[in-house]
Subunit: 228 residues, 2 copies
DNA sequence: TCGATGCTTCGGTTAGCATCGAAGTATGAA
DNA sequence: TTCATACTTCGATGCTAACCGAAGCATCGA
């Protein structure tokens, strides 16, 4: 009777407050156990288990058994992109869960978007990468240039590993706080991992915020200069 | 307690099948009456009225009184973009409302995405515009070049009117069938209007599909050539 | 083998909301 | 004025789904 895809199923999956809380928690990028997710959502373990099985059936999350723990994570990058764009829309319309709190500035400055860097720093990084001609392309079709490949390898990123996987290397993701694009894809993930491994930045506990250290700030400014 | 925007409210708004049907109907770009929307959703007028007031309170749609009719339309471009990205996700995961029907090929070829062209033709048009250097930019930051401005004016598009408005002129929108970007924004809208005004294409009744005429196909191929 | 932990499944309760009939309001036509 | 159309509001109903207690299953350590 009706044509096209069915957005209602996904909408109702995200539409429940408990499930939405779990999904935003998983946007932090870390895999979490059912007990942890039940805590953040403010519900009992039984209820959480029911929600998690629904989210898994809907293909939004996946689970990995490890000992007697069961770790849940977002299914793939696409889910992260969708959630971020939903957050962007919600933030712009003033759908906030509490009046913007103290953590808000830190979140807007730099945060984890599933597996890559978002916020002001994320947007600035993509701007710089494009200005420095590391990445080229229009629309959502971003490609790593030859000079860019050299620079990334010099940073210690194993490009052959990135291209071997089936995931796209460069991808845009709409930032909810900046309302502009930042870098997603396997390269975006590799760069965030680099920052954390080098000790340039640390993840806040129980938050998506990313805090840069002093040297981290300097290295970031050196690696990703802005044209103007 | 929780940080960041609340996606659950929007999710639950879209999560109801009746409301989702109405929203997809409104993605056709035409403003529709409450009676028409009740028909497409398969519910009575009273129920539809209740849903419509909820959608309006949530800022997803707006209404315009005209005589004893009340015309409903999507609130703005952002809603269209959000719905299209949701459809892309749903289509990719196989959330379809009925096994892909006979209208499906036509929809994938060319359709209306709220107020601009989508589908294979929409994606090809943006590809061509970038290749011909009418539009430049990376990520979501598209800009009309000087030569591009000349070409668009030659087509009969009033650029001063587009730039006067507060809406962005060029914008990307992720196509659910092609999973690539097509052109949105006021320029995208102006181009679709041009096709329809010139008689190069016609909108199907009761569908988002756009059917190009013989001369329309030729003009489209002439105006938007592909590099390869 | 026993207990502890982590999670799922089952059963029953409850609350919210979609739904529609009926009545009320506004606009237009006769 | 009177009737018809378009839509909203109210009130009642019924169904779904979120929720939790209790029991069951799996894994780990002792």
């Amino acid at each position: 009777m009706k044509e096209g895809p069915d957005i209602a199923q996904i909408g109702s999956l995200i539409g429940d407050p408990a499930r939405a809380n779990m999904l935003t928690a998983l946007m932090g990028g870390k895999a979490l156990t059912a007990t942890e997710l039940a805590g953040t959502a403010g519900i009992t373990l039984q209820t959480a288990s029911s929600h998690l099985s629904k989210l898994e059936a809907g293909g939004l999350i996946g689970q990995r058994k490890q000992g007697r723990h069961r770790y849940f994570a977002l299914a793939d990058d696409d889910v992260g992109l969708l959630l971020e764009s939903l957050m962007g829309f919600a933030a712009h319309r003033g759908f906030t869960r509490h009046r913007t709190g103290p953590k808000d500035p830190a979140l807007r400055k730099a945060r984890v978007c599933y597996n890559h860097l978002a916020g002001d720093y994320g947007v600035r990084m993509l701007d710089s990468l494009v200005a420095e001609e590391v990445i080229a392309g229009a629309g959502d079709d971003l490609t790593l240039t030859e000079t860019g490949a050299g620079k990334m390898t010099a940073l210690g990123i194993d490009l052959s590993a990135l291209t071997r996987s089936r995931r796209p290397v460069c991808r845009t993701c709409l930032d909810w706080s900046e309302r502009r694009s930042h870098l997603s894809g396997s390269l975006g993930q590799a760069l965030l991992t680099l920052f954390l491994d080098k000790g340039w930045a640390r993840r806040e506990t129980d938050s998506r915020a990313v805090r840069f250290t002093g040297t981290g700030e300097k290295e970031f400014a050196r690696l990703f200069p802005l044209p103007a």
